[in-house]
Symmetry: C2
Subunit: 181 residues, 2 copies
DNA sequence: ACGGGCATGTAAGCGGTTACATGATTCG
DNA sequence: CGAATCATGTAACCGCTTACATGCCCGT
């Protein structure tokens, strides 16, 4: 259900084509809400059927430009204001950690080092973007401020996971468990 | 695909019935990998068809006890050691934050307060469990140590999100953006 | 002229949820 | 005996992915 609102939200910012929405999705939202292009196109079809968006077939190569309708805007606002947040998580990284006891120590250490490196690279990537934003490279529209807030979540999240991977690595090497020995 | 390995991992620890697997899943893994009982039962069927588990219909009320096979054990180990970690994330919380600019300030502040409270309650819940573990309430098997590590990830993750929600709330009230005014 | 990116789709299939269904057993 | 819980499933449906398909336009 969330993809529908993600698309409406992007269209609330500016009208655009399915192709552009997809491109922007891959750049901006894929990290927190993955979606493939067939899904985006078919969801746009449904949004049109529900009169939450309209489109005008105008541009070159059959390009369709979608625009949000007043009903569509109300729909996103209502989602944001009234619907319950889904706090479900689905993390392959954490799931695997539950089964660390099955892994050989050497393999596990390699695994944790790779995880740490991955999380740190995400942090670096987001921090770079955040710094550019804070310098004012992208203006200071309300939209940009929201993006900055989302970015901050990513930075904090991946920083904490990088720290966790490092902690786990040490914890496994020399356990500090109170009931040890 | 991950559910399959989650089940195999649990069965590597101890043989149990679909019912028990489901119950333990809801308690322990639901927070990081949600699964409903029909999914678990049908996955067990497939695992049996693939000879990764066997079952003996023995217990009361048609209870089936599943046991992992050597092939099954190899399968989990191979998953843990050789398959790429899927770092995809799908967070309703973060997705919404991308669209904060659409929300009315008062609603948004309420939203962030509720989010912070939720994240903090998760932290408290996990910390309580972690403390009990560190006291040695559950022994110190390798399995238990893995759980402790997973738990640590949850604590750090939700702590960072709670901090983020607080930061965002303040950031919105009095922006500190460098290119302000 | 043609190769590559633009732009939009369809189809098959899988993973996952929700609702429904059923019988067995234990407990008060 | 009846209610609750144990225990296992089926069916319908939806979200989502992967692979396939098609035509258009731009640059070289």
């Amino acid at each position: 259900m969330s993809l529908r609102y993600a698309l409406l939200g992007m269209l609330a910012n500016e009208s655009s084509s399915g192709y552009d929405l997809n491109r922007r999705f891959q750049e901006a939202l894929y990290a927190i809400w993955p979606a493939s292009h067939p899904q985006i196109y078919s969801e746009l079809k449904k949004l049109d059927a529900d009169a939450l968006v309209t489109f005008s077939k105008e541009g070159s190569r059959g390009r369709k430009v979608y625009t949000i309708t007043p009903k569509g805007l109300k729909s996103v606002q209502s989602w944001l204001a009234h619907s319950d947040v889904d706090h479900a998580l689905r993390s392959d990284s954490l799931l695997r950690s539950y089964f660390f006891w099955i892994m050989e120590p050497a393999t596990l250490q390699k695994h944790l080092a790779a995880e740490k490196a991955f999380f740190e690279s995400r942090v670096a990537q987001y921090e770079q973007f955040a710094a550019a934003k804070d310098r004012g490279d992208f203006g200071s529209s309300p939209q940009m401020k929201s993006i900055r807030i989302t970015l901050e979540a990513g930075i904090r999240l991946y920083k904490s996971l990088a720290g966790w991977a490092e902690w786990a690595s040490k914890e496994i090497e020399h356990p500090t468990s109170s009931n040890e020995q």
